[in-house]
């Protein structure tokens, strides 16, 4: 065991950091984009009914193909991996933001309008807070997915834990595969827990108890 870490320790540490960096930056960027898009789409439900299925078809393109195509255009730079991961991470958050906003009961919006709130105040004081649990579920899903998708970045030689996995698979060295897979799995669980914690702190008590 100690022999393993002596050999791969530094490399593994770097791979974890790279992997984490890809995941966090792309999910963060995706969250920002998805929130804006989700809000805009929720204001135009007719457009959304047409657009959401299109985006959802796009989502079914395998990640490998997409990273490969981007690789052709952008080259072997971290930007390629970041862009591909971020685009994939957008959809679950977008879908949940949209669904969460549409799911806000009409009575709350009517009460808000009746109190004299404008559209922007209704969005920030009522709709977004009430959609928050759903939005968080989307962010969580995206994060967990992105951790596993980021394994693919090694395919185009951009590092991350995928490097261990691929090298392990191609040289029939299961130790290396495990060395890549276990931290990736732990990372997914850990980030998921962090998001749960953030959600708990950001959601008012009044919403937590009604949630089952």
């Amino acid at each position: 065991m100690s022999h393993l870490f002596a050999t791969y320790g530094a490399m593994l540490g770097k791979a974890i950091l790279v992997h984490l960096a890809y995941t966090v930056t792309s999910v963060a960027a995706a969250t920002a984009v998805a929130l804006v898009l989700g809000v805009l789409l929720s204001r135009a439900p007719r457009l959304a009914r047409f657009l959401m299925p299109v985006i959802s078809i796009f989502q079914t393109i395998p990640g490998i193909v997409f990273i490969g195509i981007l690789f052709l255009y952008l080259g072997m730079v971290p930007l390629t991996a970041f862009t591909a991961l971020a685009i994939y991470a957008v959809f679950p958050i977008l879908k949940n933001t949209y669904a969460g906003l549409l799911g806000v009961e009409e009575k709350y919006k009517e009460a808000a309008r009746g109190c004299g709130m404008g559209p922007r105040q209704i969005l920030f004081q009522v709709e977004l807070p009430l959609a928050m649990p759903t939005i968080f579920a989307g962010i969580r899903m995206s994060t967990v997915y992105t951790v596993s998708w980021a394994v693919l970045t090694a395919m185009i030689g951009l590092g991350g834990l995928g490097e261990f996995v691929y090298r392990g698979v191609s040289t029939n060295n299961s130790t290396l595969t495990v060395l890549g897979a276990v931290p990736a799995a732990l990372m997914a669980v850990g980030l998921g827990a962090l998001i749960d914690l953030a959600e708990k702190r950001l959601t008012p008590r009044g919403l937590q108890e009604v949630k089952s």
């Binding site: 709350y108 009517e110 309008r113 009746g114 109190c115 004299g116 709130m117 009044g206």
Partner: protein, 375 residues
């Protein structure tokens, strides 16, 4: 002063409100009533422009509401909806101060206002201010809903079937509270309901709508006595079925509520308090050992002077009484003159037989006009 002038509203070619004109004086409690689909809610919502009228004008203190910025208008008109609609992400205090905060009141003023309002409905600040709506009962939630509408001191408040979702006991209590608040604060309230009993109890003036038109605008008494046409009569009749209309010789025995909680004067105070709390009432009728009426004991009386372990004999209070044979008409006058909340009805042997509350009296009033079930 609120004035509707030839107001119309169509939905997809169907006229919901047609050529509606009426006026409501300041400080009046106006109830819009009519069968469902008669346009009463649409009429209400056109005032704060949640629905835009198609034609005609609505004047609020002489100003056409169409010319006032909608958001500004709504911060000056209180609004209570049926489904309560407290914001679940906000505490009681935050919910109450929504409109003051929109109006940019400073923090101290918001808090002072919230404290003042909670006192108004006897809800303790320390207990409730930081609670969320889902931690309150339905009745408490709608109390907060009413306070939210009152918060920025609007002269006019709109209520769209505010008590429809509440159980009968809570509804009765809230009706009393809102009516009291309205009298005390001198607000103009427009209140939509389809419940005639509620309308009779609350209204200074009832506006009866049917099929988008105003059929009659009159005080409850006048509407009961002289409904404008068959539609009005029929609608009221649905709530208190048709029968021997016009009788005015009904004795109290027929309209009283039986099943009155009574105790012997040898009962201990603690037992009385337990009985009151288990039946959710605030007073008990007290008799002597032979069952003859002696007086009443109230929770306030016990709280003020009571000592545990002693019998309630020391705390008896007077209450106005009538006999089962007394005419309901006379009982009505007695109830009005004494200002009491209820009358105790005694039988020939002076044993308590029932009580008459203001609610049972309003039902009886309807009974005298149309007959049917009085109690």
């Amino acid at each position: 002063m609120i004035e509707y002038r030839h107001v119309c509203k169509n939905y997809g070619g169907r006229a919901i409100v047609r050529d509606l004109s009426f006026a409501i004086e300041d400080g009046q409690f106006a109830v819009l009533i009519g069968p469902s689909g008669c346009g009463k809610t649409t009429t209400l919502k056109m005032l704060n422009r949640l629905i835009q009228s198609d034609d005609g004008e609505i004047l609020l203190d002489g100003k056409n509401v169409a010319e006032i910025n909608a958001e500004q208008l709504r911060t000056h008109i209180g609004y209570v909806i049926q489904q309560i609609g407290l914001f679940p992400n906000m505490t009681v205090e935050q919910n109450i101060t929504v409109v003051p905060r929109l109006l940019k009141w400073d923090k101290a003023r918001c808090r002072a206002r919230a404290q003042e309002l909670l006192r108004l409905v006897d809800m303790d600040w320390d207990t409730y201010a930081k609670k969320y709506p889902n931690e309150l009962s339905g009745g408490q939630q709608q109390r907060i809903g009413v306070l939210r509408a009152l918060a920025a001191e609007p002269p006019v408040i709109l209520m769209d079937e505010p008590f429809g979702a509440l159980d009968p006991i809570t509804r009765d209590a809230l009706q009393d509270e809102v009516k009291n608040l309205q009298r005390r604060l001198h607000k103009t309230i427009i209140f939509v309901t389809h419940d005639m009993n509620e309308a009779i109890k609350m209204a200074d003036v009832i506006l009866f709508m049917s099929d988008g038109e105003l059929l009659q605008q009159a005080s409850p008494e006048e509407m009961l006595r002289a409904p404008a046409n068959d539609t009005v009569r029929e609608f009221m009749g649905k709530h208190v079925a048709r029968g021997a209309a016009g009788r005015d010789d009904i004795p109290c025995g027929e309209i009283m509520r039986k099943n009155v909680a009574h105790v012997s004067e040898s009962w201990k105070m603690l037992e009385c308090v337990q009985l009151m709390s288990s039946r959710e009432i605030d007073s008990l009728v007290v008799t002597d050992d032979d069952g003859a009426y002696r007086g009443v004991v109230t929770i306030e009386g016990i709280r003020a002077h009571g000592r545990p372990g002693e019998s309630v004999r020391q705390l008896l209070e007077e209450a106005p009484t009538v006999y089962t044979g007394t005419l309901a008409r006379e009982a009505f006058e007695k109830l009005e003159q004494s200002g009491a909340r209820y009358l105790i009805v005694l039988d020939g042997a002076r044993h308590p037989a029932g009580i008459i509350t203001r609610t049972s009296m309003s039902k009886a009033l309807a009974y005298m006009v149309w007959g049917g079930d009085a109690v």
